[in-house]
């Protein structure tokens, strides 16, 4: 779907529904409808292998990528490409994992797969030095800039408490399937950065979040469009000095991966894996209270795989 088509459809739906607000909900309805197949598990945690191999195994517990991506659908993958650092520094999502996810999407019949992030450092350097641009292009995906304000469209967040409106990258609004691929890292401001925090990279004005209660805004945004799938890269984990890190000395090898359709559950599990109590990370607790997902892992069907 291109921009113009999107605007056209947007205005038709908007007119029919009467308000833009309804339109926001519509997207969520579409998103939910395609994961209607009965799921075997709510969450899969896997460890002991290479990132691509772990993903191959883990996604089977959800019945494979075909349960998320239908023929001729468009997919947007949102890794963390925030920093101009090498893959060994583990500040950005593992490129091998991104490449493998793209392959699964195409195998499931995806028409187009897009990859982007609104980076913190200069985006061209981040894209190339993280290794993600090369890996994604080689796997056949379209690598799109997140560094121009012209990509970002205004949306409303009806359930938001502090963050009620913002501008979001058009690919998030236009794509049929949204796959969130954060990397688990320590974070000076937010405590940890995982799935929900990774979504800061799909909006333009992050400063607003920082000014207006960071944790509340992270949770607020999570109520807008939930990713269809969250794949947490915990292969190499930056234990300290995050989110940018200073050197490879900050990195610890976890060789793990967590996948879930529930962002809050995924973040809770990843926080535990990191060695933190989920409820002590404010945005996880707030998102749980706002019923965006659950941080109570005891209620979930979890598949734990150790290779």
């Amino acid at each position: 779907m291109d921009r113009r088509e999107f605007f056209k459809k947007g205005s038709i739906v908007g007119l029919a529904a009467g308000t833009y607000l309804t339109f926001g909900d519509k997207i969520n309805l579409f998103a939910n409808s395609k994961t209607s197949d009965p799921q075997l598990y709510d969450l899969v945690a896997i460890k002991g292998g290479e990132p691509d191999l772990m993903f191959d195994k883990a996604i089977q517990s959800f019945g494979g990528m075909k349960n998320f991506v239908k023929k001729n659908q468009t997919v947007v993958i949102k890794p963390n490409i925030g920093w101009d650092t090498s893959p060994e520094r583990a500040a950005n999502t593992n490129p091998k994992l991104i490449s493998q996810i793209i392959k699964h999407c195409f195998d499931a019949g995806a028409k187009d797969v897009y990859v982007f992030d609104h980076t913190c450092d200069n985006w061209t350097s981040c894209y190339s030095n993280s290794g993600i641009e090369r890996a994604a292009k080689d796997a056949g995906a379209k690598v799109v800039s997140g560094g121009s304000e012209s990509y970002y469209q205004k949306i409303n967040i009806p359930k938001g408490k502090r963050l009620k409106e913002t501008t979001v990258h058009e690919l998030i609004l236009e794509s049929d399937v949204f796959i969130n691929v954060p990397i688990l890292k320590s974070h000076g401001g937010a405590g940890l950065t995982i799935s929900m925090k990774n979504l800061m990279g799909v909006v333009w004005d992050r400063g607003y979040w920082h000014r207006n209660d960071l944790h509340q805004c992270i949770a607020d945004y999570a109520s807008f469009r939930k990713p269809d799938l969250n794949i947490i890269d915990a292969y190499s984990v930056m234990k300290t000095n995050g989110p940018r890190g200073i050197s490879e000395a900050d990195v610890m090898s976890f060789k793990s991966q967590i996948i879930s359709t529930d962002m809050v559950a995924a973040d809770a599990a990843a926080a535990k894996l990191f060695g933190k109590v989920p409820s002590e990370i404010d945005y996880i607790r707030i998102a749980d209270e706002m019923k965006i997902g659950t941080m109570d892992l005891s209620k979930l069907k979890i598949n734990r795989i150790i290779l």
Partner: protein
């Protein structure tokens, strides 16, 4: 030898130079800029001269070559190497497509020429490049390209990208352009307008009235070994050479060539039907000198201006003395780019050509207005509103042609301390709102800014280790508070050396067979 071939050579060489120099400024993908820029810029007179005075290595001999060339053949620099001169030739070339202008010999504007030359020299001697900055033809060309042409190219690229992306083709990406400095833009437009007008109306009048490089090389041409002159025996007095001379320096009737104004375009050789005009050895009999009182005027004005300049000198020093001990809220000085050693070294050597601005991938380098003082007008500074200095980048250090920014390798650059980060608690959201933030610490590449528990408010607040700070401005750029930032870089007038962050290796105690903690 038929000298008409010199014109063809001149045209080819000049096209190569203007093309190569423009490419260096217009490389919006930043691919060749750092590696290539030194070659076409090597012979640019003012940058090369300044770099020689600043570091004096073999990499700076370009201007000596130009002097040597001028002592041999006169101002060939002005038509073949100088991009602003070539640009004027482009304008006249286009004009001639519509209507061919016929020139006539005019008297030189001696006072005007030497006035501008003296201004440049005197201002430079008292330690400011402002005269060169405003008058250097290369720098003016650079500013025209960087402030006028480059934004247009970026705009065109962005339109193309938009069309492509509407067709779902994602091979190019738009450039988020952060704008040009208004003053630099206006100044560049004025200079462009001036040379456009002068070149179309009067040929190379700019080069022979305003340009200090032209005037200086003109002095050298007076004693050059070979000079262009009219050979009485061959000349048929057809006047073709005079009519084609865009420098208005051939008086065909009296058979005089004012070689100090000749820009070495060789058009006269091309049109002369009888080899009546040619390069002649210095002591041949042609009447190429026109007697006037150039030298006396030059020396007299130099003396007058030096006295007046003392006052400017005092104003210039202010930027360095202005350093009292009261706690600063606003920056005392602008932050100068890495590799510039100190603000004074930078302002003393920068001609404001804006090549570093064009080369900066984060657009943190922006032309100053009055931040460096009136004398530093348009010299680039770090503007942390538009970006911050990328930790792993040495682009500006590798392109500077004048030695205002000296080349350093990446490891050394990572320890250059442009300034030190300062926290303004009164503005910081952690203190005012009691909510988490950490945007500054997040962006800090050395962890000079860290989030640490402040027991007084029971929140993690920024804490600064000054020794680690390199003054890159990432914290200031990222700080979300409005309208005033809560963290900013206090510029160091002389750049310091930052400590390399200590690396404590994280203990690897993971058992891959251990059960998950949930």
């Amino acid at each position: 030898m038929n000298l008409a071939i010199l014109k063809k050579i001149r045209v080819i060489v000049s096209i190569i130079f203007i093309f190569a120099i423009s490419i260096v400024f217009l490389d919006i993908s930043f691919t060749i800029q750092p590696y290539f820029s030194q070659y076409p810029l090597y012979l640019q007179f003012i940058p090369s001269l300044l770099k020689f005075l600043s570091i004096g290595s073999i990499a700076t001999f370009g201007f000596i070559f130009v002097i040597f060339l001028s002592l041999l053949f006169g101002r060939v620099y002005c038509s073949s190497i100088c991009p602003l001169g070539i640009l004027q030739d482009v304008f006249t070339f286009i004009r001639n497509k519509f209507k061919i202008k016929k020139y006539l010999y005019t008297k030189p504007l001696t006072k005007t020429r030497y006035f501008f030359l003296i201004i440049s020299i005197v201002s430079f001697l008292i330690g400011t490049t402002v005269g060169l900055n405003l008058l250097d033809p290369y720098s003016n060309f650079g500013r025209i390209i960087n402030n006028i042409v480059r934004p247009i190219i970026i705009g065109i690229k962005n339109i193309i990208v938009f069309v492509f992306e509407s067709l779902n083709i994602y091979v190019l990406a738009p450039i988020e352009f952060k704008g040009v400095s208004l003053f630099s833009l206006m100044f560049s437009i004025s200079i462009l307008g001036l040379i456009l007008f002068l070149s179309i109306k009067y040929g190379r009048l700019y080069c022979n009235s305003v340009c200090p490089v032209g005037t200086f090389l003109g002095i050298l041409s007076k004693i050059s070994f070979f000079k262009i002159g009219i050979i009485e025996d061959n000349c048929i007095k057809c006047g073709e050479c005079e009519v084609i001379c865009k420098s208005n320096c051939i008086d065909s009737e009296n058979e005089i060539v004012d070689f100090s104004r000749c820009v070495g375009c060789f058009n006269c050789f091309d049109v002369c039907p009888s080899t009546g005009i040619s390069y002649l050895p210095r002591y041949s009999k042609s009447k190429s000198e026109i007697p006037n009182s150039d030298k006396r005027y030059f020396i007299k004005s130099l003396a007058i201006l030096t006295i007046g300049a003392e006052r400017i000198l005092k104003a210039q020093q202010k930027i360095e003395i202005y350093k009292d001990s009261t706690k600063p809220i606003l920056r005392k000085f602008p932050v100068s780019p890495p590799g510039s050693i100190s603000i004074s070294n930078f302002t003393d050597n920068c001609t404001a050509c804006h090549l570093c601005v064009a080369s900066c991938p984060t657009q943190v380098l922006q032309p100053a207005f009055l931040e460096y003082g009136l004398l530093g007008i348009m010299q680039p500074r770090m503007d942390f509103k538009t970006g911050f200095c990328n930790y792993d980048c040495v682009a500006c250090l590798s392109v500077c042609p004048s030695g205002a920014i000296l080349p350093k390798d990446i490891d050394e650059k990572k320890t250059i301390q442009l300034g030190k980060s300062k926290l303004v608690k009164e503005n910081c959201v952690v203190y005012t709102e009691k909510t988490d933030c950490g945007a500054c610490a997040e962006h800090c590449p050395t962890k000079a800014v860290k989030m640490q528990l402040d027991p007084e408010i029971n929140k993690k607040a920024p804490i600064i280790t000054e020794e680690l700070c390199i003054g890159c401005g990432a914290c200031e750029y990222a700080c979300p508070t409005k309208p005033y930032k809560s963290i900013y870089i206090e510029s160091s007038a002389i750049h310091g050396i930052a400590q390399i962050p200590k690396q404590e290796k994280i203990e690897q105690k993971i058992d891959y067979k251990e059960e998950f903690p949930f």
